[in-house]
């Protein structure tokens, strides 16, 4: 469409016609003139030479025009063609009767051409060239002036031609200006059109992407059937409700969206308790304080996961783990919240069963052990029929193993307590030297039996921490008994107590089997046993270090370990020192 318009416009354009095309009217006029001369007897040829010069010049100009048409780079010289034409017509006029020739008017055609060229000096060129073409024959004597009128005509006609040229030049100029404007408009329109098409294509592509994303989102939204996903505005009014929420809470999307508040599905008491926990003064929040408590963390910018009870539509309670996040607009302002909940009934049941199991172990294992140990003791105390030394030795083995089993039960129970967060500490001021000495004393017989020397290094001043003496003693016992188990006969275990300005350090160093560097990370994991332990058949189940670390951590302390296989291991317990004058705790 645009192409066709352009082509049409090009044909009409003043600038566009080729020199040949512009020359064509003159050629046609020449042909008509010649036809008239041949066919009309009254038309006399007064000077055949001039006539042929004129014809020749027009043909030459036509040839030049044709050449220039082929070579557009010569365009600035194109005005030469009509100028030659003007002089050719002058000659033609002389050849056909001079001032009486009827062909003088033919001069108008090349003059129009000259006048229509771009700048205004062409007006002058038209005037001068026509004037010269008319007057030159007199100067050369080819024509003889018969009257003053002929001379005047030589000036007068060019004057008329000049006026005409001026008018044509102005018209052409205006036409060119308009044409330029039209052209610019057309170009602008074409550009706008192509840009619009480009935008349209981009829009279409964007829309397709959006539709795909929308399908993806809808698919996801409907696929989540085991988690309740609920969206609300900043007041808690529900505006999004997924199939999981319907399944979990028993009401449909239609019934929930825009009609219900998210806190309708919470236990009011829980929300109030949480608000109290967060120290909300009464009436401090504009919104429902329970709702504010629910979204507190999300509002402050951190996602929060916490256990709550949901109240179903039928009034039953469902324990859930609920993550709350804020929804924001483009400026980052909070416009609502998202609540993602999953049912933790099973998790809670598992935790309950675990507690029950631990209780069962504690009771069902301790009771038979109580009988075993009690009756073994009665056997040992039998006064009427005393046992033989050999029998007493067998009895000792049975007792030792029963005690080992008892310790294991205790360790298991303690590990379970640590895991469930029920880890009671009986805090008091503890002078560590006493703890370390007691641990070394109780390990003495074992060390002697194993042929390992047990050394202690104690500081002169007291080293006091705040802690549970029983648990701290248990930590020391564990480390020393480990060190003894892993140290071959002839080796040594040294236990030292030192203090930095802020920390107490209990170090247990052995010359034992050591631990592979790659295993140091897992050392404190439950039931983990180092390969040096399994390879050398060192007894144990892998709970001692787990328990020791749990105790130290509960005292805000840290545990460190250094080891080299075949050289030895060094465990360090670092505990924060009791502040001076912390007697209040006692």
């Amino acid at each position: 469409m645009i192409g066709l318009f352009r082509r049409l416009f090009g044909l009409l354009s003043v600038d566009h016609p080729s020199p040949s095309l512009k020359q064509s009217p003159t050629v046609v006029a020449l042909a008509v003139s010649l036809l008239l001369i041949v066919s009309v007897p009254d038309l006399n040829v007064t000077n055949p030479v001039r006539l042929f010069v004129g014809i020749g010049m027009i043909l030459a100009a036509t040839a030049i025009a044709a050449y220039m048409t082929r070579h557009p780079e010569l365009e600035r010289w194109v005005v030469l063609v009509p100028v030659i034409d003007v002089f050719a017509v002058g000659a033609f006029r002389v050849g056909t009767g001079g001032s009486t020739s009827i062909f003088t008017g033919m001069m108008i055609l090349p003059l129009l051409w000259i006048a229509a060229e771009k700048s205004r000096w062409h007006i002058a060129l038209a005037a001068i060239s026509s004037s010269m073409a008319l007057l030159l024959p007199y100067a050369f004597g080819t024509l003889v002036l018969h009257s003053a009128g002929e001379l005047i005509r030589g000036f007068y006609s060019p004057l008329v031609f000049a006026f005409m040229a001026a008018v044509v030049n102005e018209l052409a100029r205006q036409a060119r200006v308009q044409l330029g404007a039209v052209k610019a408009l057309a170009e602008e329109r074409a550009e706008t059109l192509s840009r619009t098409m480009e935008y349209a294509a981009q829009l279409e592509e964007g829309e397709a992407r959006l539709r795909a994303a929308d399908r993806m989102f809808r698919g996801l939204w409907s696929a989540v059937t085991e988690q309740a996903v609920i969206g609300t505005d900043e007041t808690g009014l529900i505006d999004a409700w997924n199939p999981g929420a319907t399944k979990m809470l028993g009401i449909s999307r239609r019934e929930a969206e825009g009609r219900r508040y998210v806190f309708d599905f919470h236990v009011a008491q829980e929300l109030e308790d949480r608000a109290r926990e967060l120290n909300y003064p009464p009436g401090a929040t504009v919104l429902n304080p329970g709702f504010s408590a629910l979204v507190e963390s999300a509002r402050l910018g951190s996602a929060e996961s916490r256990e709550w009870d949901y109240v179903r539509e039928d009034g039953t309670i469902l324990p859930v783990s609920l993550s709350v996040t804020a929804r924001t607009d483009e400026e980052g302002e909070i416009i609502g919240y998202l609540f993602v909940a999953h049912d933790v009934t099973k998790e809670r049941e598992v935790a309950r069963l675990k507690d029950e199991f631990v209780g069962l172990i504690s009771h069902e294992l301790r009771t038979p052990l109580s009988s075993i140990l009690g009756y073994l003791e009665l056997l040992r105390d039998e006064d009427d029929n005393p046992l033989s030394p050999e029998q007493l030795q067998y009895l000792g083995v049975a007792e030792r193993n029963a005690h080992r089993l008892l310790r294991l039960v205790g360790d298991l129970l303690f590990t379970a307590q640590v895991e469930s967060g029920k880890f009671p500490l009986d805090l008091t001021e503890v002078p560590l030297a006493g703890i370390v000495t007691a641990a070394i004393e109780s390990a003495g017989p074992t060390a002697a039996a194993a042929g390992v020397s047990l050394v202690d290094e104690l500081p002169e001043g007291p080293v006091v921490v705040i802690g549970d003496p029983v648990r701290l003693g248990q930590s020391c016992d564990n480390l020393i008994s480990n060190a003894l188990k892993f140290t071959p006969r002839g080796g040594s275990v040294s236990v030292s107590l030192t203090a930095t300005p802020t920390e107490a350090l209990i170090t247990v160093r052995d010359t034992g089997l050591g631990i592979a560097a790659s295993e140091l990370d897992q050392l404190f994991s439950r039931f983990f046993r180092a390969t040096t332990a399994t390879r050398n058949a060192v007894p144990g189940v892998g709970l001692g270090l787990t328990i020791t670390k749990a105790i130290v951590t509960a005292h805000q302390g840290r545990m460190e370990v250094e080891s080299e296989e075949g050289v030895g291991t060094c465990f360090t317990i670092r505990l924060p020192l009791a502040p001076v004058g912390a007697g209040a705790l006692r």
């Binding site: 504690s362 109580s370 009690g374 003791e377």
Partner: protein, 126 residues
């Protein structure tokens, strides 16, 4: 010493045996042995002994419940109560003493030490 009478309650007959032997060694007379809390309470109300040794976790009433019942009855204020349990944490011990027990003994226990401690207690009492 024959007027020191004891009621023993534990669902495990072997543990009851250990306690019985300890009591005998301490010179006490076991007047009733029961395997659950309800029977224990009935036996104590019937026998009105000087001492009751109660396991905490028993079928029927727990040792703690029996203990609370006894402490509600002023006429039984003279009965000493020793609770016996496998739970040795602070919380359980405190709960036992708060229920009105005079003493709390953790399983496993040494029958030798139990006998000595019972004999000592009785020797110091009027």
């Amino acid at each position: 010493m024959n007027d020191r009478r004891v009621v023993i309650a534990d669902d495990d007959p072997d543990i009851r045996g250990l306690i019985r032997i300890s009591c005998r060694k301490a010179g006490l007379t076991v007047v009733a042995e029961t395997a659950d809390g309800d029977d224990a309470l009935a036996a104590i109300l019937r026998e009105r002994p000087e001492l009751a040794i109660l396991d905490v976790s028993m079928p029927g009433m727990s040792g703690l419940q029996v203990c609370r019942h006894l402490r509600e009855d002023d006429s039984l204020a003279e009965v000493r109560i020793l609770l016996l349990s496998a739970a040795v944490d602070e919380h359980s011990i405190r709960a036992g003493l708060e229920a009105g027990a005079n003493d709390y003994l953790a399983k496993p226990f040494s029958p030798r030490q139990l006998a000595v401690s019972l004999a000592e207690q009785w020797a110091t009492l009027p």
